[in-house]
């Protein structure tokens, strides 16, 4: 019983985490930028939605505006910062540090405007409980998280395999030089990628705080866990990242059955560090 409920909770958390992982992977595999500021975009989405709801806008409007804001922010980070750095032939290290800077800026602007208090969404329907299989209880918010995440996953799969832009992005990801000479214009593609990934990360960025409340400094842990999912799932593999995110969330939830809870995050990272030592290319990556 306990195990089943933990399992279901793990799937909910994992789905949301999976979208973070997919969106990060999207950026990383195409631009090769370790986009830590993604955690800031994730945080901002929730706050924008909260503000609009607090001003009486209906939930779908709030959500769409939040997505639009994140999209714009993502594109801005790319054109205003990453593209400039690339033109200056900055090393990865430089880009990464700049990205950390952007994260600090976003988090602290949010903290200055909204304070560091935990903000709770005031949506009574979200807390309504459904009893699904057996005695497992899930809230509307949790069910919504799963549905939206799966929809986002399907949309990404369709986008990247079924549309021209998606294929172009994959081409740029696999070989930027080749893409350049075939006039795919990687720089413009990079802007699209950042915009799309930012829109995508807004989905869990709004849904997760719906359940757990908003905090300005809370983006980095999900992002790091998501990067672990991305690496373990094999960089560039959408399904790999999504599945591994669920696996990791399950691991953190289910490990409670066997070990004291204070170690659950530590264990995740411990397994990861060991994993990196022995299989650095990921589980789903093709063997060479």
């Amino acid at each position: 019983m306990l195990a089943l409920q933990l399992l279901c909770n793990g799937i909910v958390t994992g789905c949301a985490l999976g979208i973070v992982a997919i969106s990060f992977s999207f950026v990383y595999s195409t631009t090769k930028i370790f986009h830590v500021a993604h955690a800031g975009v994730y945080t901002l989405g929730g706050y924008v939605a909260w503000s609009l709801l607090a001003h009486g806008f209906p939930a779908p409007v709030a959500f769409l505006v939040a997505v639009a804001a994140c999209t714009a922010l993502g594109a801005l980070i790319q054109t205003g910062l990453y593209a400039r750095l690339e033109r200056r032939r900055a090393t990865h290290l430089v880009v990464l540090i700049a990205s950390l800077g952007v994260l600090a800026v976003i988090q602290n602007i949010v903290a200055a405007v909204y304070t560091a208090n935990i903000l709770q969404f005031d949506l009574p329907w979200g807390a309504k409980v459904f009893t699904v299989v057996g005695n497992v209880r899930l809230t509307v918010t949790q069910l919504l998280t799963v549905v939206c995440s799966l929809a986002a996953y399907a949309a990404v799969m369709w986008f990247s395999h079924g549309t021209i832009l998606g294929k172009q992005i994959r081409a740029v990801a696999s070989n930027p030089f080749l893409a350049e000479i075939t006039r795919l214009r990687p720089r413009r593609v990079h802007v699209y990628v950042m915009a799309i990934a930012s829109a995508l990360v807004c989905v869990p960025g709004v849904l997760v705080p719906l359940d757990f409340g908003l905090q300005p400094y809370n983006g980095i842990t999900p992002l790091l866990t998501a990067t672990i999912a991305m690496i373990a799932g094999g960089v560039g593999s959408i399904t790999g990242a999504f599945v591994l995110a669920i696996v990791i969330a399950e691991l953190q939830n289910m490990s409670l059955l066997f070990i004291p809870g204070e170690w659950s995050i530590g264990i995740t990272f411990f397994i990861f560090v060991i994993f990196m030592l022995f299989r650095p290319t990921g589980l789903f990556a093709a063997a060479r």
């Binding site: 935990i118 409980v129 209880r137 953190q252 059955l257």
Partner: protein
């Protein structure tokens, strides 16, 4: 080396400029976490102090002197606290400093003893604070006192099987350790305990695991995320009693239907409605627990300063410390008495009912 000289000279010049002193005001310090994960509470504490000081200044200050409190941000970190402490004491010559949070307060305690600076803590409740330094006074009881009381109450209600949900930080762990000590002493048994990470608000896994042990009561020792905890408890359909300490008095949690029936000890700190209204008008938020606590502590400090100045004595850490214990009893927002470094304050047992905290009993730690 050229760089070193150039930047070094510039830096020293700027820092000297920072430390220009101003006269004819009475100055105190406050070292609070104004950034980072502790900022939420730190900001409330800062407002409590500032609110009290502004009111006092509007009423003519202490013995005709304007009061100023210099705020330093320590990010709840001990090393920043030491720097801030030395800065306030050394450059600003403050005799008294407000502190919060157990780690920083404990780190500053030896310095306070050495330099004879009065530290006033109105927020942290770690048991070690009671004995850390003769110059560290606490205007609220330690967690140990509160947990002792709630344990006694729970046993008297026939709840003998306990579980603990605690936050994995100094305050949360202190509460857990106290419950592990006092609950069995009062006659109960502890079946299970689970931590939650500070700042993380997904309590479901921990709650589920605790519920699996089938306790009659769960002690919750967390400082943030109470509302989320309550909602998740409700959503998971849990029925056992939830008990806690003063931390529970988060208005949003009390108002939420999911906290119906939660029971907790409450350090009594009442604010008259007109004061609350005034605060709300000024800051746009409610006068929360820590605001009141620091408002109250500031009133105590100002009373001590007023007494000293009107007797023509100098304001030093030593004199303020001595005067505080000479006066002994204070009537601020609540009556409290300093028999030791930790004030003796009456404790209520409150139950959350219909969105309100209802006091059902008054008990004392001894």
């Amino acid at each position: 080396m050229r760089h070193l000289l150039r930047y070094g000279i510039g830096l020293v010049a700027v820092m000297l400029a920072v430390t220009g002193a101003r006269a004819d005001t009475v100055r105190f310090g406050a070292i609070l976490p104004l950034t980072g994960p502790g900022a939420m509470i730190g900001t409330q504490q800062m407002r409590g102090i500032q609110f009290a000081v502004d009111k006092a200044n509007a009423a003519g200050g202490v013995h005709g002197n304007k009061i100023e409190v210099l705020f330093e941000d320590n990010q709840a970190k001990p090393d920043q606290s030491i720097l801030s402490f030395n800065k306030l004491v050394d450059l600003e010559h403050v005799p008294m400093i407000f502190t919060a949070y157990s780690g920083p307060s404990l780190a500053m305690a030896p310095l306070a003893t050495r330099k004879k600076i009065l530290l006033v803590n109105a927020g942290a409740q770690a048991d070690k604070l009671a004995t850390a330094s003769p110059y560290l006074v606490n205007t609220l009881p330690t967690i140990g006192d509160e947990v002792k009381v709630i344990s006694k109450y729970l046993i008297s209600e026939g709840k003998t099987k306990g579980a603990i949900l605690y936050e994995n930080d100094a305050a949360g762990i202190a509460g857990r350790d106290d419950f592990v000590k006092y609950f069995p002493e009062a006659g109960g048994t502890i079946l299970s305990q689970e931590p939650a990470q500070f700042g993380q608000t997904d309590y479901r896994p921990s709650l589920l695991k605790l519920a699996d042990a089938k306790p009659q009561v769960m002690l919750v020792s967390i400082t943030a995320g109470l509302l989320q905890m309550a909602q998740q408890y409700k959503q998971l359909g849990m029925k056992f009693t939830v008990a806690g300490t003063t931390f529970f008095a988060d208005p949003a949690t009390v108002a939420d239907p999911s906290s119906e029936g939660f029971v907790h000890t409450q350090v009594r700190i009442d604010a008259p409605p007109e004061l609350e209204a005034e605060f709300k008008a000024k800051y746009g938020v409610n006068m929360e627990f820590f605001v009141r606590q620091y408002y109250n502590a500031t009133q105590i400090v100002l009373a001590v300063a007023d007494k000293l100045l009107s007797e023509g004595k100098p304001l030093t850490g030593q004199s303020m410390h001595d005067e505080l214990f000479t006066i002994g009893k204070f009537n601020g927002l609540i009556p409290l008495e300093f028999k030791s470094n930790t004030a003796t304050v009456p404790l209520d047992i409150d139950v959350m009912k219909g969105g309100k905290d209802v006091t059902i009993k008054q008990m004392s730690a001894d």
